[in-house]
């Protein structure tokens, strides 16, 4: 009796084993699952929930929780694509990404070349100093930059421009080279945009410099020396030796910093809340604003879902063309 029972049990267990595709060598999965569960419950689940909210007419958090909201299909998206503010925000965001990216690449390549130059003494210390911005919290550095761009007559940049004006007029330079101080950096549309771009470049260049420097250091010295012996000038050497070496890393860093620029929230929010008159609301600020200030949770969710779709596109491109997932295959 007992033996037959165990027989059934054992065969049942083995049948179960054959059904579940899990064998002893798969125990590594158990080490991974806690992280996957935590990540999914705090990151993936909210994204799905956000999509659900975007299909309802929820107006504030209470209406989502209390069940007062009704499913209205894709009406929020229809409303969104007819909203002029959405298109202003979208175009400003893309302009911000594009302009800051171009400047970032030039600034970072310049810094990396200079701090990798054979004639610069103490370049290791300079490199350490130059990536300092990466080590400070964003709220700190961004608020400091707001102080630099202060509208006040004696704000930091306005003072510097005033000194410059004084210097230039002492040389009796023509009027056109002078600045009309004080500049309202945060109260004009393009002035504020300029301030955003400057700060974004300052925040993102250290990452690019790190990546470009490590690419430059992999270029064998012999290549440069051979090119020099052949009589190649600086520009020619840059084009034929340096550029091929840093092209890949620069592209990779561009995609990643481009993705962070697209998600930029703190700079516009701390500077002037996407102002003046909502003209500089980058996409995440726009979505946040709609929810927090105007109690339009449904619409806000739709905006943020569109933003997340673009971020996903960035990541797909990065993985696809940036070779980010190269190590996935091997074990």
């Amino acid at each position: 009796m007992a033996s037959s029972q165990t027989g059934i049990g054992a065969s049942g267990l083995s049948r179960l084993r054959s059904v579940i595709p899990f064998s002893n060598r798969d125990w590594g999965l158990l080490l991974v699952i806690p992280g996957v569960v935590l990540f999914s419950s705090f990151m993936l689940y909210p994204i799905f929930y956000l999509f659900y909210i975007s299909l309802t007419n929820a107006t504030f958090a209470g209406s989502v929780i209390g069940g007062g909201a009704e499913l209205i299909g894709f009406e929020n998206y229809v409303e969104l694509f007819g909203d002029a503010q959405f298109w202003t925000s979208m175009s400003t965001t893309w302009l911000f990404v594009a302009v800051s990216l171009v400047i970032k690449v030039f600034v970072a390549v310049g810094i990396a070349l200079l701090l990798n130059h054979a004639r610069v003494l103490g370049k290791r210390y300079m490199r350490a100093a130059v990536i300092v911005p990466l080590g400070f919290p964003g709220i700190f550095t961004i608020t400091v930059w707001r102080g630099m761009f202060s509208d006040a007559r004696y704000g930091v940049f306005n003072t510097i421009l005033g000194r410059y004006n004084g210097f230039m007029s002492s040389l009796s330079a023509p009027e056109i080279l002078l600045f009309d101080v004080p500049i309202g950096f945060l109260s004009g549309r393009w002035e504020a945009f300029f301030a955003y771009v400057t700060t974004e470049v300052w925040l993102a260049y250290p990452f690019m410099v790190i990546i470009i420097v490590s690419a430059l250091q992999d270029v064998p010295r012999e290549l440069h020396e051979a090119a020099m012996v052949d009589g190649a000038g600086f520009l020619q050497r840059f084009r034929t030796v340096t550029l091929p070496a840093i092209k890949g890393p620069v592209l990779f860093a561009s995609i990643l910093t481009g993705a962070t620029a697209f998600q930029q929230f703190l700079i516009p929010w701390v500077f002037n809340e996407g102002g003046p008159a909502r003209q500089n609301e980058l996409i995440i600020v726009y979505g946040y604003r709609e929810a927090i200030s105007f109690n339009e949770f449904g619409l806000s969710a739709a905006i943020l879902i569109v933003a997340i779709a673009f971020i996903g596109l960035f990541m797909y491109v990065a993985v696809r063309y940036g070779g980010l997932a190269e190590g996935v295959g091997d074990s």
Binding site: F39, M43, L114, V130, G135, G147, Y288, L304, L324
Partner: protein
């Protein structure tokens, strides 16, 4: 603990290298003078080096100007910053008043600067352990620093507990779904704070539904969740560089599985663990938008207090106090960060960067 130890060792090495830098600089100059005298180098050749160095140095100064400005500002409580006399405060007006304000009057250590000390109470608690902590000598309770430390501890413990085993499994084991999960993680590696703000609307609704708002523990778990993809991938790539043959050799010599972990994997991944520690710490230490939305004022961590200080008045940030607060807030992180700078650079330029 081992990660902390290696961070401390890195700090020491950095300090020694930094302290001996002037000596090396003098030697370089002496050699240059010698080379010119003996005709090995022309003066023009030396001048070119000096010019390039000066160019690099001035570039560094321009780039770090904002940080220098805010540091001097923190030393000038009581003077008006934006006035006719210039950008920087008068050196004669330097004082530590702002730091005194942060330590003894703000909510940095204790609410309203009301200092106290922890006291172990025997018999209290009411839980399984008849011991509890109490803040003696203070009526208002511990301040933002303790909220921050609690938050970061949860983030670090939860994050490490999930990142390290998973990285090991990804690096050394093959199991079903491995590729798929890893690919999913890679997709999320570089998603920054923007995504958390994007999901804030949903998060707030969800947390309210489940009654999880104003809970530092849950918030710490949330930050840990955000750090998992990037850091797991980072540590996995790090472990991939340790030859498997080391473990095989140890196994042949009769080491058990746990012994190979303790004797080979942990010691050789120490720099990687240090970097992960820094990144996980920063994730919990710096975030404030979500903390501000989900927490009530008595639970605000330092980052939210700093933000509130920065936006106290729409156009009038109390610059000196803000600067002093921010310096105390950012300094520990910055020190550790630059001590482990080499490892951080390696960590940041991982994967696909060589091509």
């Amino acid at each position: 603990m081992s990660a902390l130890g290696s961070v401390l060792a890195l700090i020491r090495a950095k300090l020694i290298a930094f302290a001996t830098a002037p000596q090396r600089f003098v030697v370089t100059i002496q050699r240059a003078i010698y080379d010119v005298r003996t005709g090995k180098r022309t003066p023009w050749d030396v001048a070119k080096s000096v010019l390039m160095t000066a160019l690099g140095l001035s570039m560094v100064l321009v780039l770090l100007f904002p940080l220098f400005w805010i540091f001097t500002a923190s030393l000038a409580e009581g003077t008006r910053l934006f006035n006719t006399s210039g950008i920087f405060p008068e050196p004669s007006a330097y004082n530590l008043e702002a730091y005194r304000w942060v330590l003894f009057e703000s909510d940095f250590f204790f609410v309203e600067g009301d200092w106290g000390y922890p006291q172990l109470v025997i018999g209290g608690g009411g839980g399984l352990v008849p011991l509890s902590f109490r803040w003696a000598g203070t009526e208002t309770g511990p301040g933002a620093l303790f909220n921050s430390l609690y938050l970061v501890s949860v983030t670090i413990v939860a994050g490490f507990g999930m990142i390290v085993p998973a990285a090991y499994a990804f690096s050394r084991r093959s199991f079903i779904g491995r590729k798929r999960i890893l690919y999913g993680y890679v997709l999320f590696t570089q998603i920054g704070a923007g995504l958390s703000i994007a999901t804030l609307v949903a998060l707030y609704s969800l947390f309210s539904t489940y009654g999880l708002t104003n809970n530092l523990f849950v918030l710490g778990l949330f930050y840990a969740a955000g750090t998992i993809p990037f850091n797991t991938w980072l540590l996995k790539t790090y472990m991939d560089n340790i030859p498997v043959s080391y473990e095989e050799a140890a196994m042949v010599d009769g080491a058990s599985f746990l012994e190979t972990i303790r004797e080979i994997i942990i010691p050789l991944t120490k720099p990687g663990l240090a970097v992960v520690l820094i990144f996980v710490w920063l994730a919990g230490w710096n975030e404030f938008i979500i903390a501000q939305t989900l927490l009530s004022p008595e639970n605000y961590p330092l980052s939210v207090e700093l933000y509130n200080l920065a936006t106290e008045g729409r156009f009038s940030t109390p610059w000196t106090r803000f600067a002093a607060f921010a310096n105390l807030f950012a300094l520990p992180v910055a020190i550790v960060y630059f001590a482990a700078q080499r490892s951080v650079e390696d960590g940041l330029s991982f994967g696909g960067m060589e091509g």
